[in-house]
């Protein structure tokens, strides 16, 4: 029985088509995978289904009835629940307070805490998702917090449950628990949509697969009748660009050398004894499911996070240096979030470009900024990196995501540092800019720079890297080169190694 149908959903943002005539149909009792790379349009589609976005065209039918959601409340009323990647919870409140929020059982004018606790327990045991109603949410493990999120959707009588990348933050044990719960829910007639780009879990748990690429459906598959290769083909297309191999010999002295680096957060070791080198003229990619310690590793290398172990730049130990001194010693860094860390959105493009090097002789003289030189430099970079901006005086926040990222990359590349560290080079960036950013990084490598790239987009890493390191649970568990650098092998190491096969 078809529970949910989405027909011809189309959504544009500023002329960019995020969803182009998408159709999706999910039966009751089915676990349906929605797959695709970052930027393929999965989130847009799910946000439309959950009433967070309005489609430009197309219709949504639940139980055969056409729906028009003005807000998530409408979607919730129609029986749609969503478990977001970032939990919508109140950490200071208890589990039951979170669960009955806006829907409190009452006793006169008061909340009946007993009834609420009872409700939590009954709901939990009915779905096999037990949870202590009196725990404070802040004290719970991530897996339990996710369970709470699912229970919240179930408490509102959801029949269609969207899970957005639910395993990204889970340990393998927690993941298995989640999968068991998902099967249980499906067996009771619910429809589950699993949004993911991880092939093994799709094969392990789903019934149907819809694959998206560049805003379109690129494959509709039945899990039992398909295989990894077919899914990958649908996800990335045939034309994975061949890597232009580095010409530089690998016996050069490492530009970046990391030895026995560990980062601890309370009792948890998030980066566990990591060692690797990056040599001039090579791009090293770091792959891994998010939540396996990649950002902490980079923060430790940059000096933003306290760590044990040794970080050396061009043979010099910089472990005790502040971020400012490390940058001065020859590191450029493109951070993951360009709005929060990478720019001051209200400041002009020129100011954003010069900031960080404004004490150099080119940009300032005896404590005064050389504004003409700064603007000229900005204009030069805008032209060279083909940034679409009317003037270098405009606030950088007025640019599109892709153009903003180009400015950040331009700034960091232009520092001329021998080592460039790039986190998520093309997240939220349009296709044209992706191509340009990739070419830029490869050109810099060919000039002899050492480049370290962290990305959650495997296709990107495969296209860019001369070598891929895979992070799993805080450790680097594989260093892959040559023919080993393929979706299948890297994916297997991302899941923890050979034993998953």
């Amino acid at each position: 029985m078809t529970l949910l149908q989405m027909k011809g959903i189309t959504k544009r943002f500023d002329g960019v088509v995020a969803n182009d005539g998408i159709s999706l149909s999910v039966n009751s009792g089915e676990i349906h995978a929605l797959m695709g790379e970052n930027g393929a349009g999965k989130s847009t589609l799910m946000n439309i289904l959950y009433g967070l976005l309005k489609p430009d065209a197309g219709e949504i039918l639940v139980d055969g009835k056409a729906m028009d959601f003005a807000s998530p409340l409408g979607a919730i009323a129609a029986g749609i629940g969503m478990v977001h990647q970032t939990f919508r919870q109140f950490p200071d409140l208890t589990v039951w307070e979170n669960l009955v929020f806006q829907n409190e059982p009452r006793q006169g004018p008061f909340v009946s805490a007993d009834a609420a606790r009872d409700f939590v327990r009954r709901l939990g045991s009915r779905h096999g998702l037990e949870i202590d109603p009196d725990s404070r949410v802040r004290d719970l493990a991530v897996g339990i917090r996710q369970r709470l999120e699912i229970l919240k959707a179930l408490s509102r009588e959801a029949r269609i449950l969207i899970l957005d990348e639910p395993t990204a933050v889970l340990t393998p044990q927690e993941r298995d628990g989640l999968f068991a719960a998902m099967r249980e829910l499906a067996s009771k007639g619910m429809a589950l949509i699993l949004v993911t780009h991880k092939i093994p879990e799709v094969i392990a748990i789903t019934d149907q697969i819809t694959v998206m690429r560049d805003g379109r459906v690129s494959g509709t598959l039945v899990t039992r009748e398909t295989n990894e290769a077919e899914i990958i083909r649908a996800m990335v297309g045939r034309n994975v660009p061949p890597t232009v191999a580095s010409k530089v010999t690998s016996d050069a002295r490492p530009m970046l050398s990391v030895k026995d680096l560990s980062v601890r957060k309370g009792a948890v070791t998030v980066v566990d004894n990591v060692s690797f080198d990056v040599r001039p003229g090579e791009i090293v990619g770091i792959a891994g499911v998010s939540g396996n310690g990649q950002p902490q590793l980079i923060s430790a290398v940059m000096g933003l996070e306290s760590a044990t172990g040794v970080v050396s730049l061009d043979g010099h130990d910089v472990s005790s240096f502040s971020i400012a001194r490390r940058r001065a010693a020859g590191v450029s860094y493109v951070p993951e979030d360009r709005h929060l860390t990478g720019t001051a959105p209200a400041a002009s493009i020129a100011e954003n470009i010069v900031f960080g090097t404004h004490r150099n002789a080119v940009a300032s003289n005896k404590g005064f900024l050389r504004k003409d030189a700064i603007r000229a430099q900005a204009r030069k970079l805008i032209e060279r990196f083909r940034v679409k901006a009317a003037s270098e005086q405009l606030p950088i926040g007025s640019l599109s995501g892709g153009n903003m990222q180009k400015v950040v990359i331009a700034r960091e590349v232009e520092h001329g540092s021998p080592l460039i560290i790039v986190e998520e080079p093309t997240r939220g960036v349009d296709v044209g800019a992706i191509e340009f950013i990739h070419q830029t990084l490869i050109a810099e490598r060919d000039k002899g720079r050492a480049i370290l790239v962290v990305s959650s987009d495997l296709t990107e890493l495969l296209a860019l890297s001369d070598r891929i390191l895979v992070m799993f649970e805080g450790r680097i568990n594989a260093s892959l080169t040559g023919s080993d650098m393929n979706e299948d092998t890297v994916g297997r190491w991302m899941m923890g190694g050979a034993e998953t096969r």
Binding site: A324, T341, T343, A344, A346, A347, F355, G367, F368
Partner: protein, 341 residues
């Protein structure tokens, strides 16, 4: 952290709108108390520029511009300094002490008195910054509580140990004429205090527009994380900005003591409300130093006009204070600043 979130044109429009709205609302208040708003406003306008009005406006602008810039440089870097009163008092007291008791010749005494005021005011603000940085007590609260402490402390000192018993007032002895700042330079209607403030204002404006430090402060106000990522030492910068903001407030205290009042009288520094008028002027200017100078001179003229209106019509001059507050409220009801924590 605070940053102007509007472009220049819409910023100007927002400021003009809030002034007009405040004038209308203030007119209502005046009307409700049985007076004629039109004649009240006319008297204020006349009093601010006609006769001695212009001179008075200019004289009042000196401390007001100083306190406004003290607020503005802090705001620019993302700090809200509510402790200007305390910093001004401590600075003024330091200046008075040096000018009264340091056994050096006149001019040197004046110079040292100014230096002492700058250091004392700066350190007083720096202390509040340290509390924020080391113990997480918000600078806004700490600096304000420090003001109340400074008020009690200076009040006690000038009433008892430092008091000049020959006057009936709680005040210190008069500063010797050699250690005073001349009220006229070369018989021009320009005082030494004006010259000093003008130099300070130019330095602040230039630093904001072209200085490497001013650039770092402004970018920190816009996005502190970005500043840190770009290599700015946030803790050091907060201490430095707090010190400079307090130092400027301390300097204003010294200029008032050495250039106008010639002794430290309990309550005299705070009575005109320079700190708060200055803060409002800085907010109205959205912390841009040049605009802050303009808005604080405007507020000075408004206040001088208010006194003249009081003499002419008998309505309290504090009406202009109401107008200033209304301007800020009309402006701040909408997002003029955006904050990133």
């Amino acid at each position: 952290m605070i940053a102007a979130a509007l472009d220049t044109k819409s910023r100007l429009a927002a400021i003009l709108f809030s002034i007009v709205a405040a004038v209308v609302l203030g007119g209502l208040v005046v009307g409700l108390t049985g007076a004629n708003p039109i004649s009240v406003y006319l008297e204020i306008a006349k009093g601010a520029v006609l006769g001695r009005g212009l001179d008075e406006t200019l004289a009042r602008s000196v401390p007001l511009v100083g306190m406004a810039l003290a607020a503005a440089i802090a705001l620019r870097a993302g700090l809200v300094n509510l402790g200007g009163d305390g910093q001004m008092l401590i600075g003024g007291l330091a200046a008075a002490l040096v000018a009264l008791y340091l056994p050096v010749p006149g001019v040197a005494r004046a110079v040292l008195a100014l230096a002492a005021a700058i250091c004392a005011g700066g350190l007083y603000a720096w202390l509040a910054a340290i509390l924020q940085l080391s113990l997480g007590i918000p600078f806004l609260i700490a600096s304000l509580l420090f003001s109340y402490i400074a008020r009690g402390l200076t009040s006690y000192l000038v009433r008892y140990p430092l008091r000049d018993p020959s006057t009936g007032m709680p005040e210190t002895y008069r500063v010797a004429s050699g250690a005073r700042l001349p009220a006229h330079i070369l018989d021009l209607p320009v005082s030494m205090a004006m010259v000093i403030m003008a130099v300070v204002a130019v330095v602040i404006v230039v630093n904001d527009r072209s200085g490497v430090n001013g650039f770092e402060w402004r970018m920190t106000g816009l996005n502190a994380r970005f500043a840190q990522y770009s290599g700015v030492d946030l803790s050091r910068q907060t201490q430095r900005v707090a010190f400079l903001s307090g130092a400027l407030a301390g300097l204003v205290g010294a200029l008032l003591i050495l250039g106008q009042q010639y002794r430290f009288t309990d309550g005299a520094l705070l009575a005109p409300g320079y700190t708060w008028s200055g803060l409002m002027a800085a907010v109205l200017a959205m912390a841009s130093p040049i605009a802050t100078i303009v808005t604080s001179v405007f507020f000075a003229a408004l206040q001088v006009g208010g006194f003249s209106m009081e003499r002419a019509l008998g309505l309290p001059a504090v009406l202009t204070w109401v107008l200033q507050a209304l301007i800020i409220l009309c402006l701040a009801a909408r997002p003029i600043f955006f904050r990133k924590r």
